[in-house]
Symmetry: C2
Subunit: 211 residues, 2 copies
Amino acid sequence: MNLIIKPSDIEKKSFSIITQELGDRTFPAGQEEVVKRVIHTTADFDYADNLCFSENAIESAKDALSHGATIITDTNMAMSGISKTILSSLGGQVCCFMADKQVADEAKTRGVTRAIVSMEHAAKLDGPLIFAIGNAPTALIRLHELIEQGVCHPALVVGVPVGFVNVVESKELFIGGNTPYIIARGRKGGSNVAAAIINALQYQLVKREGF
Amino acid sequence: MNLIIKPSDIEKKSFSIITQELGDRTFPAGQEEVVKRVIHTTADFDYADNLCFSENAIESAKDALSHGATIITDTNMAMSGISKTILSSLGGQVCCFMADKQVADEAKTRGVTRAIVSMEHAAKLDGPLIFAIGNAPTALIRLHELIEQGVCHPALVVGVPVGFVNVVESKELFIGGNTPYIIARGRKGGSNVAAAIINALQYQLVKREGF
C-alpha cells in the first residue's frame, strides 16, 4: 500500500480521482466544489446527479458566510461535522436545538417532533441564517411553512434529509421556490452530507492550510 | 403528504420499506439489523452487498456491550451519532481522541496523522474495546499493526472509512483475520455508517422506547 499520510495530500489525491471519474461532466463554479466534496464524503457518485442548486444558492451562501452567518443543523452529528475554525474566523457559528431540554419538553407537550420545535426556535434568530437539514423531513416541512408565513428568510436551505418516509416530498417543497437552496433530490442525504455541503461553501471563502 | 410525525413510527415504516425492497435477500440474525440500519442511515442499498461480517462479530460485540464496552471512534461526528442512553445504561462509554491537544502535538512532532496517535492511545484503554472507524484509513492500518503486535485485542473492529486513497486496502487487512470485524468493503462508509452499526448492535440488547 502506497501510504500517503499527510491529510491534505490525501484530500488532494481524492479530489483528483473524483475529477477523473466524473469524466466530462461539468458543473458551474461554486457548485462543482460542493458536488465533489459530497462525493468525497460519501464515495457515492449519485450525488453528481442528485444535487440541485437554486440559481442564487452559492452566491447567497457565500455572502451570508462572509457576514457571520448562523448555521442551524437538525442533528448534533451535522453540527459536529461542520468545520468551526473557518466559520468562527468569519464571525459565524453553528447551533442545534435538538438536545435542548426546553425543546424536548415543548415537543412532548404539543405532540410534535423536536425537529419542528427546533426550527421554530431557530427562525427567531438574528443575522443571516443558513439551515443545514440532514436528518428530519419534519424540520424541512416546518421550515418551509415558516418561510411561506414570512417568519423566516434564510440565506440558504441545505435540504438533504435521508430516508424513506416523507423525505422525497419534503425536499420537493423547495425545488423551484424563491428561497436559495441546495437539495439532494430523492432518498439520499444525511448529516454527513449536510456538513460536507457547509464545509464546501466555507472552503471557497478562505485559503486552507496545506492547500 | 401523509405526515407521520412520531419518530418511532417513521422508523418502523422505514424499516418495513427497506425489508420490502430487499426482497428475498436474507441475512443471519444480528447481521440483518446492522445491514438494515445502515441502509436506513444512508438510503443506499449497496450496503446489502458491501457489509462483511466475521463469523463471531455480532456475538463478540453483544458480549462486549453487555459488559460495559468502551467504543473508540476516529471522528467526533461518529461519537456524536452514537446513542449514549443505552450505552451508558449498559455501563459503556464512547470516546474519541482526535481533538485532544496532546494527540495533535504528538502527531505534529512525529509527522504522522492524529488518527494514528489516537489509535495508540486507545489501545492502552482497559476493558472490552470496540473500534468504530468511519473516516481515517490510517487509523485502521495502525490498529491492524497494534493487533498484530499483540498490544490490543478488540472485541470488534467496525472498519468503514470512506474514500479514495488507501481506504479499500485498509479494510482488506481485516477480512478473514482473527479479530471480530464488520467491514464495508470498497470505498463507501463514513462516520454516519460507523455510528449506525454501533447503534444497531446496541439496540439488539434492550427494548427501546416506542418499539
